[in-house]
């Protein structure tokens, strides 16, 4: 027999002004199973909680209903109070008579009537509440960072610093990511490589960090604290353990016409290559698409010149399986392809470049050794036009609806650097708005305009036309002057929108994390949980969550690391006890539930059963891993036999609520 206590909160006058709390307490006192029903000024106060604790003991309560504010506010408070009095915390139900009653209704009579009905529903539900015990699941004290850009590097370093082992999986032959390609950083104009490469080296040297370069995630199983990840180590045809990074092979390789992706294809590399001088790990890789030995079986020069015998043409993709407690996603971004913007003549003229290409053109390690020359004729450009928002804040299908955030600042940086180095070069920037929120950002932009004389023109570039004299005719509108402009430019630089890396989407599916419509990972809460995904144990670092500049990326990387460290510090984690479970005797083994589970929490097992007709039979039945299940309930509806039910929100509980409301 249930012994239920009902506690009706006045919430000062928040509830009591529109709901007759005494009448509610009185009415609910007559409900079957209710042994005590009282009202109180503030149930969430210390003394309010004592009221509950005392009642639990005095009346040997088996269930508690608190009619108060939203359970999203104080459900935990009252659960803790119950637990403190020795009652299972999951025997508490809240009737939301503030947000969903007193605050929205004005008439006392009808509001009171509704409050009573909501209270009855909670009483009806609590009759069927079962004591639940949160399970525990051990935590593997090792983290995985997916992506080895500045975000991944920072996260890995922080986690390692805290004393935990951490693996970086990077799909390129080296870590470093986009930041390694950048020349200078805003708003300080310090050298990107100078601040990045020490961190890369630190990663390589830290004995807590393992770098899986030229590797990808092939599969993710498991759940918070206990992920099993299959890493695909792509064949690089060079034995990582032997290669010393001397570079002799790259010098001798006869195949020298491979577009160099590190320099955005602006120059060439060899078929066996080390992406750049400071690469970590500094190990060569052979590009099988170009290697003459791998393609035709004729060459083998690199193998001959390698003194340590690191070249291995027979290498194949390898799969390794590792266990992790936490996973940090740091897959970063890419500039969008801008081929579709025909008006900018990107495909027609080599002198129309993207901003990232400009970074390489200006970089000392770039194709021109740091001297800015036009790609077409290697001449010094005298007029450069920058076009902002190419594909950003864009409604059409070629672009992205969001602001890429970093373009305004890096364009100011580029403009400033050019003006600084080549004062005879005129720089025009066409913009929609200039967005400079950030420490020292607006000052930086103003310096570009005021001190360096960069021509900022509010307006859109309509068309770029290559002319016969090698110049580019830039046709644009100046919105402030309300006139059409033609500029004879030597170069046009497009601030291409940035988008999440293409590898993110399949990864999100493997991780069962959410993505928004732009394929950025969705954080658990946009304000309060910005570095966690909604999937427990998966954290977000850097631009995979949204466009970010370097300082923001690093801040988020450290934040994600802190969250991961918080998880790894625990020996075990408490699981949500409101999870699904299957009544094996009713389970058909049809796999419907498994197919709708977003977490892979359901597996099927063959189990021997003693059947009602006294025979034994091996049956295929669903088995829910309570540590993985997050309690959404999708499976409960997919299951036709009703074998699958959800603790805390069981079929019978919800139907009891329906009945009570419709009474």
């Amino acid at each position: 027999m249930q012994r239920i206590g009902v506690f009706v909160c006045h919430c000062g006058t928040n509830i009591a002004a529109t709901v007759d709390v005494k009448a509610v307490a009185e009415a609910l006192g007559h409900e079957p199973g209710v042994v005590i029903s009282q009202d109180y000024q503030y149930m969430c106060s210390e003394s309010g909680q004592y009221l509950i604790k005392d009642a639990v003991k005095e009346h040997s309560l088996t269930g508690i209903v608190v009619c108060s504010c939203s359970p999203r506010m104080h459900e935990n408070t009252f659960r803790k109070a119950a637990a403190a009095a020795g009652l299972n915390p999951y025997l508490v139900e809240i009737a939301n008579i503030r947000e969903q009653c007193s605050w929205i209704h004005k008439e006392i009579a009808t509001a009171t009537e509704k409050a009573i009905i909501l209270g009855r529903a909670a009483v009806a539900k609590v009759h069927l509440n079962a004591p639940l015990t949160a399970g525990e699941s051990p935590v593997v004290k090792r983290a995985l960072v997916i992506g080895g850009g500045i975000a991944g590097i920072q996260t890995a370093l922080d986690i390692a610093e805290a004393g935990f082992e951490v693996d970086i999986v990077e799909k390129e032959p080296t870590i470093g990511g986009k930041m390694a390609q950048i020349d200078k950083t805003f708003p300080t104009l310090d050298c990107a490589a100078c601040i990045l490469t020490p961190k890369m080296v630190e990663c390589a040297q830290n004995d807590k960090i393992t770098i899986h370069s030229f590797s990808e995630i092939a599969d993710v199983k498991g759940f918070v604290g206990n992920f099993t990840v299959t890493i695909k180590k792509k064949a690089r045809f060079v034995d990582e353990t032997k290669c010393t990074g001397c570079g002799l092979c790259t010098e001798k390789c006869p195949m020298k016409k491979v577009p160099n992706e590190f320099n955005m294809g602006l120059d060439n590399r060899t078929a066996v290559y080390i992406p750049f001088a400071q690469a970590v790990p500094k190990v060569a890789a052979i590009d099988p698409d170009y290697c003459l030995m791998l393609k035709n079986g004729k060459c083998g020069v690199c193998s001959k010149v390698c003194s340590v015998g690191a070249i291995d043409y027979k290498q194949t993709d390898k799969f390794v399986e590792e266990k992790y407690g936490a996973i940090v996603v740091a897959t970063g971004f890419n500039p969008i392809k801008i081929d579709k913007y025909e008006e900018f003549a990107y495909n027609q003229s080599p002198d129309v470049v993207t901003s990232l290409e400009l970074e390489r053109l200006m970089n000392a390690a770039g194709p021109n050794g740091g001297t800015l020359l036009r790609p077409s004729d290697k001449k010094h450009p005298h007029t450069i036009v920058f076009v902002q928002c190419v594909g950003s804040r864009c409604d059409d299908e070629n672009g992205k609806p969001y602001c890429s955030k970093i373009c305004c600042m890096y364009t100011a940086k580029h403009a400033m650097l050019i003006r600084e180095k080549y004062p005879d070069t005129e720089v025009y920037v066409f913009y929609i708005d200039v967005r400079t929120p950030g420490k020292n950002f607006d000052e930086f932009y103003r310096r570009a305009v005021e001190q360096y004389g960069v021509h900022y023109i509010k307006g859109m570039v309509g068309k770029v036309t290559p002319k016969s004299d090698g110049k580019l005719d830039v046709q644009a509108a100046d919105l402030l002057a309300n006139e059409q402009l033609h500029i004879d430019a030597d170069m046009v630089v497009l601030a291409a929108a940035i988008e999440p890396d293409k590898s993110a989407r399949p990864l999100a599916t493997m991780l069962t994390t959410q993505m928004d419509t732009n394929d950025f990972f969705t954080e658990a809460h946009p304000k309060l949980r910005p570095v966690e995904s909604a999937t427990a144990g998966i954290f977000l670092s850097g631009a995979c969550q949204g466009p970010k500049d370097i300082p923001e990326t690093v801040a988020q990387a450290s934040a994600a690391a802190a969250k991961a460290i918080g998880l790894l510090c625990k020996n075990s984690i408490t699981c949500n006890p409101c999870v699904a479970s299957s009544d094996e005797l009713m389970c058909n083994g049809c796999s419907s539930c498994e197919k709708v589970c977003p977490y892979g929490a359901i597996t099927y097992i063959d189990k021997e059963f003693r059947m009602p007709d006294k025979t034994t039979r091996i049956r295929r039945v669903a088995s829910v891993n309570p540590a993985v299940c997050q309690g959404c309930g999708a499976c409960t509806v997919a299951c036709p036999s009703g074998a699958m039910d959800l603790s805390g929100f069981s079929n019978s509980q919800i139907m009891a609520e329906v009945d009570a409301i419709c009474k």
Binding site: S591, V596, A638, P640, G642
Partner: protein, 323 residues
């Protein structure tokens, strides 16, 4: 046909490929054949039958049969193969334990259609060039073959066997059937007309559960309607609501899994056109989520177990044409 089937069954029994044969057994009259398991050549010779009245879908029996040891031969009509595949997909049938011989499909006849013509005292039925010569105690009656075919065969969706180990006779094609015509007709009625239609049909329901127990998609270990803990258990419709609920929930539970085999309507003692409920779901699924045929293969995800991000909203129901 029947001879060829018996011959092949005997061979497969003799060479040890199978130890049982699932087929139909001759009845008391010329039309009341019963699904049965045969274990010997003698039984097959004496009782095995396959004719215009062997319309029962044998697939569901294989759920029970494949729990047993040994391998069973099953004769499956094209429509039955869809049910079979669906059950394999849902792990209800162990494919390894069945040797499937595909046999040509119907149209099969329904004795009730003959009785509905007022023909009674039936002693023998012969099909002569698609005219049925029905010998009765009261003399010989005649009726066109096609007027006596069962509801499930009236709009055959496919003559193709989607799974088999061997075929007897030719395989056919997926047909361009008119099976959604009646659903469409109902859709074009007013809400009140539809309500009246279904009330008059469903109020006939005696809750014998024949539709459920015969349905190859209804193989739950325990049906929610029999489970006191489900909250909706009920044995008889004590109110018109319960008549509606049983059929809505049943149709929903088999939505995306129903192969449209038509057994529900075949067995309904009250001739309620239950298949229309299933077809409504199939029609909606086809038009809203892309053509899907349950049981066509064992790999496609069921439409209710998957989604597309740009699926239509539920409000499409409100936006549809006829009131």
């Amino acid at each position: 046909m029947q001879e060829a089937m018996i011959k092949r069954a005997k061979e497969l029994l003799a060479d040890g490929t199978v130890d049982r044969v699932m087929g139909w057994k001759k009845g008391e009259f010329s039309y009341d054949h019963t699904p049965a398991v045969f274990t010997s050549a003698q039984e097959l010779d004496e009782n095995f039958v396959c004719d215009d009245f062997t319309s029962a879908n044998l697939s569901k029996y294989l759920v029970k049969e494949t729990v047993r040891d040994g391998k069973i031969l099953a004769f499956l009509k094209p429509c039955d193969t869809y049910s079979f595949n669906q059950l394999v997909k849902e792990y209800r049938i162990d494919r390894e334990k069945v040797y499937v011989i595909g046999i040509p499909g119907g149209p099969k006849l329904d004795i009730e259609k003959i009785r509905a013509k007022g023909i009674t005292g039936i002693l023998n039925i012969r099909n002569e060039n698609y005219t049925l010569k029905i010998e009765t105690i009261y003399g010989v009656s005649e009726m066109p073959f096609y007027e006596a075919i069962g509801v499930k065969c009236e709009s055959c969706k496919s003559k193709k066997h989607v799974v088999y180990d061997e075929l007897i006779g030719e395989d056919g094609e997926v047909l361009d059937s008119n099976r959604f015509d009646m659903v469409e007709k109902l859709e074009n009625m007013t809400s009140q007309e539809r309500y009246d239609f279904w009330r008059s049909e469903l109020s006939k329901c005696i809750r014998c559960n024949a539709c459920r127990t015969v349905c190859p998609a209804c193989t739950c270990e325990k049906c929610v309607f029999e489970n006191p803990d489900s909250g909706i258990e009920n044995k008889a419709a004590a109110d018109s609501f319960e008549e509606n609920m049983f059929h809505i929930i049943r149709a929903f539970h088999v939505a995306g899994r129903c192969t449209d085999c038509g057994e529900c309507s075949r067995v309904c003692p009250e001739n309620i056109p239950l298949h229309l409920l299933n077809r409504k779901f199939i029609k909606d699924i086809n038009s809203l989520y892309g053509t899907y045929q349950a049981g066509e293969n064992t790999t496609d995800k069921a439409p209710l177990n998957e989604y597309k991000m740009d699926d239509c909203e539920a409000s499409i129901v409100h936006e549809r044409g006829a009131e």
